[in-house]
Amino acid sequence: MLSTRRELPIVRAHQVGKWFSNFQALSGVTLDVLPGEVVCIVGPSGSGKTTFLRCINQLERIDAGSLYLDGELVGYRVEGGVVHRLSEHEIARQRRATGMVFQRFNLFPHMTALENVIEGPVHVLRRTREESVAEAQALLDRVGMELKAGSYPAQLSGGQQQRVAIARALAMHPKLMLFDEPTSALDAELVGEVLTVMRDLAATGMTMVVVTHELNFAREVADKVVFMAEGKVVEVGTPREVLDRPSEPRTRAFLSAVLSGNTEAAA
């Protein structure tokens, strides 16, 4: 089913490596994300899944291999066989192809929900305020936050903040949405409302890469599940392949630990 798609991948990672001083956070990560695909990355903490996500929008810089975003080499330019780092300006431009949702929401606390959403369109895309406000209201409506447009983040619950954060990312019209453990900082009863918004977003055909511990969400929504451990991709496949009939013992150990509610043992 995956191989029937013939479009260029939005993300193409080839043998990506990343070091934090002496610690190798990623080694030989190879992965394609096709347009419209929802890819869920699962694995124990410290497996490099968040680092990989942060490499895609250049919050981290890769040290080995190559990473393409929408056909462009990410973070570097190769001229005459020599690698040059891109300037901050070029990096900011490349980043605009992606939207990111953080574990800790990271809304701007001095701005209302609406102001958070229009900040990028008005100041980065330089669109008019009226146009941006109209679109932001539509986006807040889409995530069920239209009644809280005038509230500051401190007045919102975690689930509400995360939904505003999703609207803020969507306001930049990204080609790819990145989610870094979007429900991990939420109280259990607030997880559902965020996952519902993400499910709706996936249904619109948005390309998404989601780092998550929500295996049920991955099973239901993902086109592709990636299991990572110790900085490597251990297994890639459909949710059924990876989550129900894992071929690698490392994946089986993680899944059985998660199912018995003991994620620590899995790490």
């Binding site: 929008n57 990111m100 800790r104 701007f108 001095h110 900040e119 990028g120 509230s151 401190a154 990312a169």
Partner: protein, 279 residues
Amino acid sequence: MVNIDISALPHARPRHYGRWFGATVLLVVLGYIGWAFAVGNIDWNTVREYLFNPRVLRGVAMTIVLSVISMVVGVLIGTLTAIGRTSANPVISAAAAFYTWLFRGAPILLQLLMWYNLALIFPIIGIPGVWEAPTVAVMTPFAAALIAFSLHEGAYTSEVIRSGLLAIDVGQHEAAKSIGMGYALTFRRIVLPQALRVVIPPLGNEFIGLLKMSSLASVVGFLELTGTAQDIYYVNTKIMEMLFVAAVWYLVIVSLFSMLQLWVERRVSRGISSGVKSC
């Protein structure tokens, strides 16, 4: 053990013996000091007479002008220095650290005198071929005081502002990047507004310190409030009276700026806990 309900019983009023004692001591001491001033060798009519004397009012204005301009320039220098300190460029961060070290390290009185006497080292200043002037003509008492206080404040406020910048969560920088913001835009729209909330109280403190420190400008002959008071009592010999006039004005100025600070604090704390207004 008896199952009583304490809300159904009368409550004894707590007696604050310590407070009563403290208040009594304070009143006695204040009363004595007040009495000493009242019967002391002070001519209260002179105080009243000089409080709105045009020369005194001009001194008040000069104190405010010198302090406000020095503070504004100081905060600008301090902001640039704070940004420089956090720069990845080692030349910039070292230069910023050196500046802070130098101008925080030397006494302000000494700095004032050095700027005022700059002509001893640089008799002529300017840009060769474009504009030049003898230093003594340019380095007026006001200019010397302005330069000395601005550079001094710049060094102090840079540390205050740096602490404000460091207080901003790294997630805020990342969120700004994630919506495509560059460094300058992130600083102006995201970091600075949040850092301001943190640094306004210590900056207000700095400014109040500066208002009173500006009295030192009298040593280079700048007639701000204290210098003016001295100038007047050298002639009329009403020393304590004139110092009283100056003290009253300093208290008035500091009170006004403290109120201004409270107002500014409320303005910049939008969205954050105590500053939240009902929406």
